[in-house]
Point group: C2
Chain length 70, copies 2
């Protein structure tokens, strides 16, 4: 869920993995592995990514309601 939230929010903000990695002080490969769910990220990384995405940390670990197509 965490990885999918990072990817969704990154895309919503129009950021590339490169841009997010720069803002979060992580490598692009690290961002890619987080989004692919291959990382057991730490709470520090959760905080750093939330700040870089300008969201609350809880937003990255909470399931989002599916968008209803109206």
């Amino acid at each position: 869920m965490f990885g999918l939230n990072v990817q969704r929010l990154r895309r919503e903000k129009g950021l590339s993995q490169e841009q997010l990695s720069f803002a979060a002080g992580r490598t692009r490969a690290y961002i890619s592995s987080v989004e692919a769910g291959r990382r057991n990220a730490t709470l520090d990384t959760l905080e750093v990514l939330a700040t870089a995405l300008d969201v609350e940390p809880k937003d990255l670990i909470t399931a989002t309601a599916p968008k209803r197509h109206t």
Copy 2:
């Protein structure tokens, strides 16, 4: 904040560190270090502790409003 939330919720549930460590599959020393803020816990640990405390993971990383003394 995470450690303080774990400690507060553990105490609210009347659990000792030993009991929480047993429920979470971690050592008592680990729980003690988390509560003391000496651990950069991972999201897996956040999930395990939330389950053991019967709360949502976001409850462990969200600042709580100070209880008003009525």
